[in-house]
């Protein structure tokens, strides 16, 4: 198997990487780019821990071939804050004690951000529907639901 060149941006930086045709985006991000905030939880799209944004759409990086993001804009959890300024979703997770072990947190935050981009003031049921593919075993989800709703409310107020 031969490596192929793939060009895309990661968190705004242009990258040109040599990847195998069967390399998963998850592994390329973690192993080649040292962006380990994107987590392996199951490898087959069951848990949501590996969620990143590809051209603005939340995407399970464990189900995405790296060659398929050629020409795309990829944003990982490391790219969400603007310098030291946290994204309102990140801030709301801290404010609402929505972070426990933290292993699901990157995926949860990426999903929450994608929802608020689409729908700035979601209802509780809309939050739950949107987040249904992301598993958390620590929180029982209540604080996560609250954090995403609060992030939406705060953004509207500001």
């Amino acid at each position: 198997m031969k490596r192929q060149t793939v060009r895309f941006t990661i968190n705004g930086e242009a990258r040109e990487l040599a990847v195998y045709p069967n390399d998963l985006l998850l592994n390329v991000l973690r192993d080649q780019e040292s962006l380990t905030g994107t987590k392996y939880g199951c490898g087959i799209g069951e848990c949501g821990a590996c969620t990143v944004q590809v051209d603005g759409a939340p995407t399970l990086s464990c189900l995405k071939l790296a060659v398929s993001v050629d020409g795309c804009k990829v944003v990982t959890i490391e790219g969400l804050a603007k310098g030291n300024q946290l994204d309102p979703v990140q801030e709301a997770f801290l404010d609402n004690s929505a972070v426990q072990c933290g292993f699901c947190t990157p995926g949860m935050v990426m999903m929450g951000r994608a929802l608020l981009d689409e729908k700035p003031r979601p209802t509780e049921q809309e939050v739950r529907d949107h987040m249904r593919g992301s598993l958390c075993r620590c929180t029982g989800y209540a604080s996560i639901v609250r954090a995403i709703m609060v992030a939406g409310e705060k953004a509207e107020l500001s």
């Binding site: 592994n27 392996y40 087959i44 990982t76 004690s97 947190t105 029982g140």
Partner: protein, 797 residues
């Protein structure tokens, strides 16, 4: 009792110190660690439930450039991967790699290679000839006369000891005289229960990195709840002095008990690193993880005798526990079921008979609650039934019988006894009943529509650690250490090997330290540490983190504070007893002053700098502490469910959860413990079961999470229907009055759901999970039974 009126830091919601790393993706877990020149490790796993390795040929894998490890390459040291029990109670039955596989998924060989792809290729190139042996996939098969042995002998108290009938361990515990007790009873009730094994489903799969050095020392990053126990066990296996093994403290992605033991991949990775002379990393797959560990399968028969006024007089419990292929902690598990059972309600006469059996399945280990969920399930469902038989409100009845203030409490088994000094149960039951609408609950069996609602209640507790007053003879090792030091600018380093599973344990302890010394929380740092730079801490388990680990750090903080005041006394010319330290958010410092002499003041930073520039030295303290109590962290559950009688699906409509954790240190995170407990507990009550194919020993889920489903965000109650309350208590033996909370938060779930479903349908379920299939089957049976006379529930003696 409240001994402090003003708290500056404890009880405030703050941004947890490790939170910024977690929300920005920069927090490192074991699988995130990268070391230059590291190779990828992989493990070859048995496809058979029981097989002897007739031959193993790694030459083709080695020809690909991989380094291979088989049982011939690792020290033949038999060990128990969980070393929390004192050595007389350790049952050693496993090797790093063995010549026999005892469950599907057990490690047979391992490889390390420069790339992930090559490691996978090398694993496939290993040729193994198995001599397949008969597999015992349930306790009944394993206990049969003449059943093949899963272990011929195990290492126990220094001797190879034969195992008979696959019984790993038994326990008999008796208090009083049950024959006399049952003779005095007006009524006796006897019921059988079963709780299925459950997969922990922690988000992070088990991972490890090992870096060897030329002097023979190793550095290890591992998913573990105890860096010191991991270090000790690696030393035991590989014959290294402890100082040559440095295990790093690193974030863990949830464990729920699954990493109390040193995980099986840890010594494999170390073996690969030593053999290859290179750093090696193993990150297990979800499938491997699901074959690695689960909660014990438990069958319990409980017989209770009681007087006409409801007073319990005698109890007899028989328990059969399936251990799986290895006895990680069977002795202790049998003991805690007894301990939790008799500590729920006053029982003057009891007999407990427990048997733990080997089977050819995934090894069981502790999971949140460790015996308490099962003991509570049995007890709280029977108590609900007794209350009904007596025509009494279960809440009112239980309050007359439970072990509360002033009563003796066993906690984790018969050697862990103490007197209960704080008790929030009456308060929590009152508030929970009100919030759930307890008085308006339906009469069981009276509803007829498709959707039937029910409210169930259960109460439980977990002991805060396993502390006890005896100087020797404890079953469990239980102490923590901590270092606290004052830096040259007045900030504090809090240094402890204790692990934080995510519940906020280290955050809470940083608050205890800040509160004690009198500095703003922003001036306390939680140090990145390892085994070489910390003193011993047993493990973050048994709901002991804040109570026991926090107490050790508090002891060190008190020592530091005494030294600070001693120096300040000299500099301010004020008796040290007259000085206080209070945090000033404005100055961002602790301020030392004498009330009444306001001019006599200095900041902690000024003091620290004075000590530094004048070479007076560093103020620091190292302390170690063994708690002498293990107070009950009570939790109460009220749940309202809706049962769909056409599909059998149970929906949680509302829940009122109460916790008596003494002083609440991190309110938001403590509430998160309860909501997390409800979610996992509801999963165990309704859907989760780790099931094996009876022929092959393979997991029915095949190791896929969707088929071994856990509850999602759609299956937990809406925020407005979720009520969390904390009791207003103060534990005199806890740091600033705090007790534990973690495990307690799941313990009542099984019983609360069983009681709620009974309330909705009028049918008792004594096997969990109470799946949709079981509900539909019971409903169809009940239709047939409806014409028969009601079964007499009581045997009058």
């Amino acid at each position: 009792m409240q001994t402090r009126t003003k708290l500056n830091t404890i009880g405030r919601n703050t941004h947890r110190k490790d939170g910024i790393g977690k929300v920005t993706g920069t927090e490192q877990y074991a699988s995130d660690v990268s070391v230059p020149r590291a190779w990828y490790g992989g493990v070859l796993r048995s496809p058979h439930a029981h097989a002897r390795i007739a031959s193993i040929d790694t030459s083709a894998a080695e020809a690909l450039g991989a380094v291979c490890l088989t049982f011939a390459d690792v020290p033949r040291v038999k060990y128990n991967e969980r070393t929390n029990c004192a050595p007389p109670h350790l049952y050693r039955d496993r090797y790093v790699l063995d010549d026999t596989a005892r469950h599907v998924g057990e490690a047979v060989a391992a490889v390390a290679a420069p790339t992930r792809a090559l490691a996978e290729k090398a694993l496939r190139a290993i040729k193994v000839e198995y001599e397949v042996l008969p597999a015992m996939l349930c306790a009944a098969d394993a206990l049969k006369d003449g059943a093949p042995k899963i272990h011929e002998t195990i290492l126990y108290r220094g001797k190879e000891t034969p195992i008979e009938h696959n019984v790993a361990v038994t326990r008999l515990i008796e208090v009083g005289d049950i024959e006399k007790g049952f003779a005095e009873a007006d009524s006796i009730i006897e019921r059988e229960f079963e709780a299925a094994p459950v997969y922990h489903a922690q988000m992070e799969t088990k991972s490890v990195v090992c870096k060897p050095a030329v002097d023979g020392s190793i550095t290890v990053w591992a998913t573990t709840q105890s860096i010191h126990n991991t270090r000790q066990l690696l030393a035991e296996i590989y014959g290294l002095p402890l100082h040559k093994i440095n295990v790093k403290k690193i974030a863990i992605g949830g464990t729920f008990g699954s990493s109390i033991q040193m995980n099986s991949v840890v010594p494999i990775c170390v073996g690969l690193a030593i053999k290859s002379g290179r750093p090696v990393k193993i990150a297990t797959t979800r499938e491997e993880d699901m074959y690695d560990h689960c909660r014990y399968q438990v069958r319990i028969t409980l017989k209770l005798g009681f007087k006409a006024d409801g007073t319990l007089v005698a109890g007899h419990m028989k328990t059969t526990v399936e251990l799986g292929a290895h006895n990680t902690q069977g002795y202790h598990f049998l003991g805690v079921i007894a301990g939790f059972w008799v500590s729920l309600y006053k029982l003057p006469n009891m007999k407990y008979e427990g048997t733990a059996v080997y089977t050819n399945r995934t090894p069981s280990c502790a999971m949140q609650g460790f015996g308490a969920p099962q003991a509570t399930f049995v007890t709280e469902v029977i108590m609900d039934e007794i209350a009904e038989l007596l025509g009494r409100d279960p809440v009112e009845y239980k309050l007359t019988q439970y072990r509360g203030l002033g009563d003796t409490f066993w906690g984790q088994g018969p050697t862990v006894k103490s007197i209960i000094l704080s008790d929030g149960v009456p308060e929590l039951l009152e508030v929970g009943a009100k919030k759930i609408g307890w008085d308006g609950r339906p009469v069981p069996g009276t509803q007829t529509g498709r959707f039937r609602r029910g409210i169930g209640m259960a109460r439980s507790f977990h002991c805060s650690g396993v502390g006890q007053p005896r100087k020797t003879g404890a079953e469990m090792i239980d102490y923590s250490g901590a270092i606290v030091k004052l830096n040259e600018d007045g900030s504090i380093d809090y240094i402890q090997s204790l692990m934080d599973h995510g519940g906020g344990t280290c955050e809470a302890i940083a608050k205890l330290v800040a509160e004690e010394i009198g500095v703003p929380l922003s001036m306390v740092g939680i140090s990145d540490v390892d085994t070489n730079t910390t003193v011993y801490d047993i493990t973050t388990h048994a709901t002991r983190g804040v109570f026991a680990g926090g107490a050790a750090a508090l002891k060190a903080a008190k020592s530091v504070k005494a030294k600070i005041l001693d120096y300040a006394s000299q500099l301010l010319d004020i008796m040290s007893e007259s000085l206080v330290i209070e945090p000033s958010e404005e100055l961002g410092q602790g301020v030392i002053y004498c009330p009444g002499y306001p001019e006599k003041r200095m900041t902690l930073g000024e003091l620290a700098k004075y000590l530094h520039v004048n070479s007076w030295g560093t103020i620091a303290a190292v302390e170690s502490l063994h708690p002498v109590t293990a107070p009950p962290a009570y939790v109460t559950y009220f749940v309202e469910v809706e049962v769909d009688t056409e599909t059998g699906v149970v929906k949680t409509l509302a829940a009122a959860l109460g916790s008596d954790c003494g002083t609440v240190v991190n309110p938001g995170l403590a509430a998160g413990q309860l909501t997390g407990g409800l979610s996992k507990g509801a999963g165990c009550a309704l859907i989760e079961a780790h099931q094996w194919d009876r022929q092959t020993g393979e997991l029915a889920s095949k190791g896929f999470w969707v088929d071994g489903k856990t509850l999602s965000i759609l299956e937990t109650p809406l925020l407005e229907n979720l009520h969390i309350d904390f009791a207003h208590t103060y534990e005199p033996t806890g740091p600033f009055g705090a007790k534990g909370i973690g495990e307690a938060s799941i313990n009542p779930a099984l019983a609360a759901y069983s009681n709620a479903i009974y309330n909705a349908l009028g049918i008792r379920f004594r096997e969990v999970p109470i799946t949709a299939e079981k509900i539909l089957a019971a409903l169809s049976t009940k239709k047939v039974r409806r014409t028969q006379p009601a079964q007499r529930e009581l045997v009058n003696s």
